[in-house]
Symmetry: D2
Subunit: 302 residues, 4 copies
């Protein structure tokens, strides 16, 4: 199987359920919405060591936001148990505190039939000076603050989505692989309902579950895919001629969104000179309920 | 007291001790060091609701990094108890995972006599394939990963620094105050050893300790400084003609760094048209051991 | 007439014909397409003193570019006589020289029935080593260069479009007006087939034709709209309470595109706190054949 | 000769005299100074097809600008004959028109003994409403404009500097060469008194003087260095294993500045994985009076 001359492994990505909320941040300009979004989605690469996985989904045009200002949609992904706390803290500490922001539930814009609603009562911050209002048919709280006023919804939809959709970008040189991964992240940013939660959207240190040597850690380097260990480990999966491998990890609101993102991302990576091969990560299919076969993901492009 | 025609209140900022570590992230280009730094310092505005306060301190030229690559220094500020966990998680999940990064202790570059050292043993991720090396006289671990190799020190200095240095930028309009605050943040970015941990460096929702109405929350809106409440609360401190107030909060490695940052920031804000007044926040001096009198902070400029 | 509480003058913008070409630049990543686009559209604010008016129109998704890579569309606007030279020099010196770029005619993507075609023969640069190819049904030249290969079409459509569509953003303070202008530019960036050619999309120095005092210059400050001259000139048009005025100048492929851009831009500006009034610039209707009445432009929003 | 394990050719860069002016742009924030600088230095890669070579030199801290606001220094490089026109047009159309800018001569900050002064009389734009003032001992004109007021010096130093300092970054893959070139540009941005005028600082299409086949063009592809022609041309200079070559072209105020920039840039490029070799371009030494031997340039690093 080849795409744009790049071999594609006949394998699949294995993914897991995760709870997902989608928050629309609006502000006076795109730049200020972006700054709040960056702060709110930081320290959120992997649920293993971070309190959540989070990232920027996409820009939302002023035509499509409840208050007619430019917006950015973010996804926050975590366990159902932690979601309320994560929404309260990330919105309360990173968005309510940011200049000119307002906040709205954005999940129904991308998926139908959201039933679960998480209460996020930030209006207590108003110390009694807050008041209820309505914006475009939504109930919001307006909270006086030193800047003027914060406006926000206090109920956010949540659904069981998909975490850990992924593919590997392998390169003849490290920089070829890195630029291939960057091109993939660019392309995925155009797909609605997904994030690539790692730094700059890219994982440089794809891992395996557990450790052979250090039993006390939950994940460790995936030595079979480490180029510098190609001659040192048995059963290395680093193809000849590959000197670096990046993983793109994708979380999304549902399987369709993750599949689209994988397709767009892989296609983009294969256009970059020096990208040598595409593969994907799985654990033998025993762990995650979602399987994304690369041949299915790419069927419209092959 | 006036600076560039802007009245300065004769008051002081009250600040508190916090533990501070400083991490230098290097990467193949400035951009990739920056992307890792942004992820590692996100969700870190206020120790009240975030696991730490963190931010970007400054660029570090390749001439001044241990591995001769471009770097960015970040500060991580939290309690002594939480520091180890925060260093492990933020470096482990947000920097080790990022493309082309290496990590070095950067505290001794800005303060002398650092005694406290925090162990940050990430080399277990290498699952036995890791090895010790030396770079510019520093002991580092090289950990094989899918990208190639991560290199990092595993001991980071920590000192008791200063959190909550601050000043208020008051504007004739909200946008004047916002641009004044932005100019202040720009100027502070040139001061070494400090961060402005809030989104884009700016606090739009300066708070008071506790709440009069909702006893269960640790902080609430500072109604005395809320422009929309000027005629609704007794003792409003919003000056006539002021329509918005932003707070710049500064954490730093020591009092000198915070004082310099306050001076540079205030001076910059007063150059912006429509900035109407500068003040600072304190709690009557009963809580924090550090006082930054604006007249001292600005003595070289007045 | 009011929009979002901001008074709108019942006036019109007067605009002029200009020749317009639209060039799609693709590259390995969005960032590299953007860098080439920025260079190619610089020094191009006003046909009075610059060799052309030029700017970035919009991103073009990899799905919509001939070579399946991410792209950016730019407009180059000048007289019919100068267009060939400007295309040759701006593409030849600023895009062909840039890393990983390819170039395609992008005019037919936004307007139908383009008849005029401008030859842009850059393949001579190949010194005989160049060769013709086809990409997605388009004839291109592939030129060997030190980086590898440049690929480009050599015929670009041109049409008589519209220059000088405009509106004024007036603010209670300079920073309110500036942020209002910024919000307008953000919104206009989402409209296809238009550019805002001035720095950052904003004109700080709106001018009148000619000069009363210095007969040798083609344009001079529009003193009737200068806030600092409100009490010094007769017939000042600066409304009470207005302290700064920015002009947004729009060039586009046709009247519809310019009208849409004016509507989106004005609407966005009126959402910014401290924006006091919106107006537009004209010369009494004697000069330009195009009139954009604000009440027509905004009829869907009022 | 090797640096960081990368072979360095024992050759030299040949460079030429060019006239250089240095303009400091200040604005309300760094961002607005930057936007004006980008517009003013666009369409300025090569004196062959552009009206000038221009670029951003460096940030100038508010401590070091005449008006105490953040600034950016740009270089404009052209023939002595064209300099006046280029200064008038680039400052007049791209900086005076930009929000909140002021302009100052910045050449004396980096070189001593500047004798040549170019008059740049923009105050005529004020149509008689302009007035002379003094800022930090400099004579400036304040010109009323719709935004408020533009302030600028009207005499700019010019010196005979150096154009065409250069080196080649050769890569095992195109992306390795590109990232090596990017790292070089990052490093050079820290050197005062130089620019890299091409798009993003990088030349993808290094050229030779004239053409063998098309006598009517002034420059054509340097086929000896084209990787795709390695087996098609006699005397190819593309080393085995090299698949892409980028050239970094440097203009500067004097030989020292260009030499420093070459050293910093080469050193940075050699730190990037997959950079295979460094060389430099010359024409046999018959044309340009300046020679930069790589072994001299790098003598502090080897």
């Amino acid at each position: 199987m080849e795409l744009n001359g790049v071999p594609i492994d006949d394998t699949y990505a294995e993914a897991f359920p995760i709870w997902v909320s989608r928050v629309i941040i609006t502000a006076v300009t795109e730049e200020w919405a972006y700054k709040a979004a960056v702060e709110a989605t930081g320290f959120a690469t992997s649920a293993i060591g971070c309190p959540a996985e989070a990232g920027i989904d996409c820009y939302v045009s002023a035509d499509d936001t409840p208050d007619g200002r430019p917006g950015i949609a973010i996804l926050i992904c975590t366990s159902k148990k932690k979601m309320k706390e994560q929404l309260i803290e990330r919105i309360g500490e990173c968005i309510l505190t940011a200049p000119t922001t307002a906040v709205f539930d954005g999940l129904s814009d991308v998926v139908a039939g959201v039933e679960e609603k998480i209460p996020v009562k930030l209006h207590f911050f108003g110390d009694g000076y807050e008041e209820k209002r309505e914006i475009s048919g939504r109930t919001v709280w307006a909270i006086p603050k030193m800047e003027g006023e914060y406006v926000g919804e206090e109920e956010f939809g949540a659904i069981k989505g998909v975490a850990g959709g992924n593919f590997f970008v392998m390169g003849e040189t490290q920089m070829s692989a890195l630029m291939g991964a960057q091109a993939a992240v660019d392309a995925i940013s155009g797909v609605c309902g997904v994030i690539t939660p790692f730094p700059g959207g890219i994982v440089a240190s794809g891992s395996k579950v557990g450790s052979k040597k250090y039993k006390f850690i939950p994940a460790s380097t995936n030595e079979a895919y480490c180029p510098t260990l190609k001659d040192k480990v048995e059963g290395s999966k680093v193809p000849d001629g590959v000197r670096a491998i990046y993983e793109i990890v994708i979380d999304g609101v549902n399987e369709d969104a993750v599949r689209d993102a994988m397709g767009e991302g892989i296609r983009a990576a294969t256009k970059v000179p020096g990208v040598a091969r595409i593969s994907a990560g799985n654990f033998g299919g025993n762990l995650g309920p979602f399987k994304f076969e690369l041949k299915d993901v790419l069927k419209d492009y092959l």
